[in-house]
């Protein structure tokens, strides 16, 4: 027996090391692009060590027994009677207890690391809606940039203040690791400090209906200079757009996420395409046909369920309470789509 | 103690417990009006519930050493008793969940309801529990007439409670603008009273069944069904012991 214990002990350690090296060399995580990511990867590494060891600890003696202690041909006797061993049982209760408490403690410390606050952080307001994202940057000279891309300067903490218009969504950039739900009726916060320039994607991680799978938008981490340049450019564009009705309409549409459902180039989507919408004859579910004029489009936005276009019964458009001016802007924009 | 004395003492025990419960309910109302102290209200509700569970629902019977013969009526009644209690444990999780919902959504506020009516229906339900206990004790003692009369009174009071809540209370609330879709206060109120009323309703069906069967001469020595109906009826009362303060007494009233 003594000999068996020694062999198994050695095998467990060898096996554990092999598993760990194997897992480590495969490289299981995406690139690390934020300080939060490096904290989390540190914890992950610890967990991998624990998992490798525990897996070996159980599986090696199991397989060893199967091979060494299997019943020999023709043997019909029972094995040696052994009911238990109180000391051993206490050990394998107490030891894991200490291990898990240690891990819980480390986990709490680790959580605190990822939540470390930088009072200088830039605040971006994030809105999730079926099935798009909008990002509202801090106002500059009374002008706010609203975009459906998230641009971030590298090395600077950003505080995302997030909410949702309709159902629960979840903000997740795998390269940043951290994830946070957007809940209607409340504001949730997430702090991220990007460390690596590059193009990533925010991917909605909470099932939010039909097009949940494609609720993705670019996240661009660039140098402070590039970020500032982008910001200046956006401010200029916003300034310019705000001059004409169709420009304001286009900006509003972009900020409200309408294009998540409505294409502007004729391709099919969740809702009818806006290409050639104005003046089009629309067949409705009740069998009648309407002309898409100002009044109809106005109603379609304020009370989308009043008249439903045939073929789109199953996916309801949320109602928007824009002002009359804003709707006029949107209609002006839709008119340009020919 | 001889047999008749024992019968007497069980009946008078029912009366004493009822007096305790009535006093505690008054105290509860008083606390709510004058201190509005939530911990005190919780304590009173717990004491009330404890009294009902022990004396009216005689939970201790679960522990009775039953006969060895597992084919006997008493042994089977013991098994049924355990089954019923398990069911009640399960059911109380529904009501517990409703309480959690209420606390989470309303916190220290409550729907603005008619206080007098609330106290009235609560009293009716409490009195019905008293008569239920009397009825049960009487069939135990072999007094069929008394059992039938008391069960009938229980049934009528129970019906009064049900109608009081569903017809009167709900009407008034809707009239006052507290409707199921008016906001969380209305939603919580209708959900909690609705679920409770549903249980009262099933309790009434059970009462009707034992009353009719009792009239036809069932339940002499084999009267476990009466006990079961009674325990269920008291359980519904216990739930109300918690729902009443939760809906009428705790916190400040809102629409």
């Amino acid at each position: 027996m003594q000999r068996h214990f020694v062999i198994v002990g050695i095998l467990v350690i060898v096996m554990a090391v092999l598993i760990y090296i194997g897992l480590d060399s495969v490289g299981l995580m995406p690139v690390q692009a934020s300080t939060q990511a490096s904290d989390i990867d540190w914890m992950w590494n610890l967990e991998v060590i624990a998992m490798s060891f525990l897996f070996a600890l159980i599986v090696v003696p199991l397989v060893y027994s199967l091979i060494v202690f299997r019943r020999r041909e023709g043997d019909t006797t029972d094995a040696e009677h052994m009911e238990g061993n109180t000391k051993l049982e206490i050990t394998w209760t107490i030891l894991p207890l200490f291990v898990v408490m240690a891990f819980a403690y480390l986990g709490a410390v680790n959580l605190a690391e990822t939540r470390r606050v930088d009072p200088e952080a830039m605040v971006v307001n994030v809105t999730g809606l079926q099935w798009s994202w909008t990002f509202e940057y801090p106002p500059v000279n009374g002008l706010t940039v609203v975009s459906d891309e998230l641009h971030l300067p590298v090395g600077k903490q950003v505080l995302l203040r997030m909410t949702s218009n309709d159902v629960i969504h979840s903000f997740w950039v795998p390269e940043f690791r951290v994830k946070q739900d957007l809940v209607p009726g409340r504001i949730t916060e997430l702090r991220i400090t990007p460390t690596l320039e590059g193009n990533y994607k925010v991917r909605c991680a909470e099932l939010c209906g039909t097009a949940h799978y494609s609720m993705e938008k670019p996240v661009i981490v660039s140098s402070q200079a590039d970020f500032d340049a982008w910001m200046t450019e956006q401010l200029a564009l916003a300034e310019e757009a705000s001059q004409t009705p169709e420009g304001r309409g286009e900006a509003l549409v972009a900020a409200s996420g309408c294009v998540a459902c409505h294409s502007t180039n004729g391709s099919p989507g969740i809702g009818p395409t806006w290409l050639n919408l104005f003046g089009r004859q629309e067949a409705l579910t009740d069998g009648s046909v309407v002309t898409a004029d100002e009044a109809y489009i106005h109603e379609s936005i304020r009370a989308p369920q009043a008249k439903i276009v045939a073929g789109f019964e199953n996916q309801l458009m949320p109602a928007y309470d824009f002002t009359d001016e804003q709707i006029a802007d949107i209609i002006a924009y839709i008119k340009t789509l020919k | 103690m001889n047999h008749t004395q024992e019968k007497k003492s069980m009946l008078s025990q029912g009366i004493i417990i009822f007096i305790y419960l009535a006093v505690l309910t008054g105290l509860e109302f008083f606390i709510a009006v004058s201190f509005n102290s939530v911990p005190l209200l919780v304590v009173v509700a717990l004491v009330k519930a404890g009294l009902v569970v022990y004396y009216y629902m005689h939970i201790y019977k679960l522990n009775l050493e039953s006969e060895k013969d597992d084919k006997s009526y008493n042994y089977k009644a013991g098994t049924n008793r355990l089954g019923l209690w398990l069911f009640l444990v399960s059911d109380s999780f529904v009501f517990g969940g409703l309480m959690v919902m209420r606390v989470n959504l309303l916190g220290l506020s409550r729907p603005e309801l008619n206080q007098l009516l609330g106290l009235g229906v609560t009293a009716v339900l409490l009195v019905s529990s008293f008569f239920m206990n009397r009825g049960e004790t009487m069939i135990h003692n072999g007094d069929r007439r008394g059992f039938l009369n008391n069960t009938l009174i229980t049934f009528i009071l129970g019906l009064g409670f049900l109608l009081g809540v569903v017809l009167v209370e709900w009407r008034i609330a809707i009239h006052e603008g507290i409707t199921p879709d008016s906001g969380v206060a209305g939603a919580a109120f209708f959900m909690m009273t609705g679920m409770h009323a549903f249980h009262v309703f099933t309790g009434l069906i059970l009462l009707a069944i034992i009353w009719f069967n009792g009239r036809r001469g069932l339940y002499d020595a084999r009267n476990y069904p009466v006990e079961a109906a009674a325990v269920y009826w008291h359980f519904v009362d216990v739930v109300w012991i918690f729902f009443y303060p939760a809906l009428y007494l705790i916190g400040t009233a809102v629409r």
Binding site: F69, M82, E206, T210, I270 | D70, G78, G97, V184
Partner: protein
């Protein structure tokens, strides 16, 4: 020959009934909407209801389950028309809805359908008699042969088998859904579930969401029925009872799961639902009517679970054989009790949470509607208060089976019996305090997350006790590996993998990365397969001879194992790897730039191989009932009481009551006995330990 005929007749009627139902539905739909909608819901709903009913009619005639289904269909229609009539009288502007009935009409109809099913099938007949003061005989005799399985029976063994077979049918349905969506996932881009795809009023991505959600919930219900099956079958004879404590309640608990399954299937055709099995509002407050069918189906199935577990506890407390003290209970009974405690209490909370959403939809009650002051996160608390402990409902019986079977095949006592028994209770109790680990990213109170991490990790300790005991049991044994033992060993390793991937999820910061990814999907397929599917198969292989007097084929059993296990590792390890690298859950399509195509392809192939192995199992199972090798004695040379009497088990289990005189697992101790039969050894002699035929 006659049997074959009836099956063919059933299939024929299935097709005919389906067409008739489809026609009726198409006609009604045309009347209401004025347009022909071939891939629509109404026609499919009617086709589903009529064809299933017709199938059982062909197999079994108008009695038992067929009568129940007919009554359910009629009840559903009557209930629906009742509400529709009321709406018409009240002058409601939408009397009919997109799915023929309006939503309230469907909900009420579905509810009456469930009630009428129970009356139709006849499980409540005795209770109605009791209420009218009429006594009924203690036992009903079942008809001999296979027919009794399609009718109400009060025998726990029949009910156990009914549960088990229903669970297998649901696994097949849920598995088929998995195969459909795995095919879609085999490569990036939309393959056939495209935006122009139309079925049951759903586009491709919507249909994906529906079948993915249904896969989850149907599999979960099948687990609940599967463990009820094993518990019903084994617990009474393990404790020496002649039946369960409440046979009628037992039958009721089984039969209510049948209309529940029908409702779940109805949700597929009535517009589906796209919320996952978790049904979070506000999304579930806006989904189509299928959502309500899902809620009602789970609600009804929940009652099956509650009443079944009530019965198990009462049976164990009241009906044990003489001398069977707490520390001499078979370990599986301990596990069953622990499971039942959870199922009895926590199940109410999932019922309640679903009920609240149903009412929010029907009456505009604003529980989870932020605009009305409601709180969407509250739903998650109520839901997980059940659904976390539920995962221990899934595994505790499975772990019990592992502990129960290991000693038999190792010929050594279970190492540390007491501690293993207590660890089941420990898992169950600690399991009640950990639910919010599913909500680390939900926006709940930040400071509550850390205590939930501690409690979650605490569960690893009692689970670890089981693992170490198993290893110590095997160590130094004399091991044989027939099919049940293979599945036991597979279960240990697979569950270990699943269990070990639990603590990383519990470390909050790490979970912020892992939440809602395929890593989680991998974690729970591992725990569920290791904790339920593998032990379930082990139990079926193990107790099959007890039920039929024949063995299942060893060769095909081994093929089943060696095909399923490696494929399974490919499936779940693949899930975990891509999950870590950024694969989200519940998506019909993934970004090709992520480079997951090849792994997904492998996983799809693995999924099909698992299905193939299950198919082999099913064929083996049904073939062996008639043609398996005879095995009427103590096949596995076990000490357990049920193996001391001949197989198949006699109707009332033990003709001679037994007394417990020793420890359950004292293998290797000369002259020790677990049970002793006290009766007259003349007419009904138990078989001897050597497995001799009598």
């Amino acid at each position: 020959m006659r049997r074959l005929n009836s099956v063919w007749r059933g299939l024929l009627l299935l097709a005919v009934g389906g067409m008739i139902g489809y026609g009726i539905g198409l006609g009604l739909d045309l009347l209401v909407t004025g347009a022909l909608n071939y891939s629509g819901s109404v026609a499919s709903a009617f086709a589903l209801l009529v064809s299933v009913t017709a199938f059982f009619f062909g197999i079994y005639g108008y009695r038992g389950i067929t009568r129940g289904l007919v009554w359910q269909v009629v009840g559903t229609l009557l209930g629906g028309f009742f509400v529709t009539g009321i709406r018409a009288l009240l002058g409601s502007d939408t009397i009919f809805g997109t799915f023929f009935f309006s939503e309230p009409a469907w909900v009420f109809g579905a509810l009456t359908g469930v009630v009428t099913f129970m009356f139709g099938v006849g499980v409540v007949a005795d209770w109605v008699k009791w209420a009218r003061g009429i006594d009924t005989p203690e036992h009903h005799e079942d008809e001999p042969g296979g027919g009794k399985y399609l009718d109400v029976s009060l025998d726990h063994k029949v009910i156990g088998i009914q549960y088990t077979v229903t669970a297998l049918v649901l696994i097949a349905i849920g598995g088929t859904f998995a195969l459909i969506f795995r095919t879609e996932l085999a490569a990036s881009q939309l393959q056939f579930l495209t935006t122009t795809f139309k079925l049951f009023n759903q586009t491709g991505p919507q249909f994906y969401n529906t079948i993915m959600s249904l896969h989850g919930i149907i599999m979960i219900i099948s687990i609940l029925l599967g463990i009820s099956g094993i518990m019903n079958y084994a617990v009474p004879f393990l404790v020496g009872a002649h039946d369960m404590a409440f046979p009628r309640l037992n039958a009721f608990a089984y039969w209510i799961s049948v209309p529940a399954s029908v409702l779940l299937l109805m949700s597929l055709v009535l517009g589906g639902f796209d919320t996952g099995w978790t049904g979070y509002p506000p999304l579930s407050a806006r989904a189509p009517v299928g959502m309500q069918m899902f809620f009602l189906g789970v609600f009804t199935a929940g009652w099956s679970s509650i009443l079944g577990s009530l019965n198990v506890i009462a049976t164990v407390v009241r009906m044990r054989a003489k001398g069977m003290s707490a520390m001499r209970l078979p370990i599986f009974v301990w596990a069953s009790v622990a499971t039942s405690i959870i199922a009895l209490t926590a199940t109410q909370l999932i019922g309640l949470s679903f009920q609240l959403v149903m009412f929010q939809r029907l009456f505009g009650m604003g529980f989870f509607d932020a605009a009305k002051g409601g709180n969407p996160v509250l739903f998650q608390h109520l839901f997980w208060f059940y659904s976390h402990p539920a995962v221990y409902v899934f595994v505790l019986p499975g772990l019990g089976i592992i502990s129960e079977l290991l000693p038999v095949f190792v010929r050594k006592p279970l190492f540390g019996y007491r501690w293993v028994a207590m660890s089941s209770l420990g898992i169950a109790l600690v399991g009640f305090t950990v639910w919010a680990h599913h909500m680390f990213t939900s926006g709940m109170n930040e400071y509550l997350r850390v205590p939930f991490m501690y409690s979650t990790l605490l569960v690893a300790v009692p689970t670890g006790v089981k693992f170490f005991s198993w290893v110590a049991t095997i160590w130094g044994g004399k091991i044989t590996t027939p099919t049940p033992m293979l599945f036991v060993l597979g279960a240990i390793i697979v569950f270990l993998l699943g269990g070990l991937t639990g603590p990383p999820n519990a470390a909050i910061a790490l979970d912020l990365h892992l939440h809602d990814t395929y890593f989680i999907v991998g974690h729970f397929h591992d725990t569920i397969f290791g904790g339920f599917i593998f032990p379930f198969f082990a139990a079926i292989y193990f107790w099959f001879p007890k039920a039929t007097g024949r063995r299942m084929n060893e060769f095909w059993g081994k093929v089943h194992f060696w095909l399923m296990t490696p494929s399974f590792f490919v499936l779940t390890l693949g899930m975990m790897v891509i999950g870590l690298r950024g694969m989200r859950r519940r998506i019909v399509d993934y970004d090709p730039a992520l480079g997951f195509d090849f792994t997904h392809l492998l996983m799809t192939i693995a999924g099909f191989l698992i299905a193939l192995s299950v198919l082999i199992f099913v064929i083996n199972l049904f073939h062996s009932i008639r043609h398996g090798e005879k095995a009427e004695g103590n096949v596995w040379n076990s000490r357990s009481p049920e193996w001391q009497v001949p197989s198949p088990m006699p109707v009332h289990n033990y003709d001679v009551p037994f007394e417990v005189v020793g420890e359950p697992y004292d293998y290797g101790l000369a002259d020790s006995k677990y049970v002793q039969f006290n009766g007259h050894q003349g007419e009904k002699h138990p078989v001897t330990a050597e497995g001799a035929q009598h």
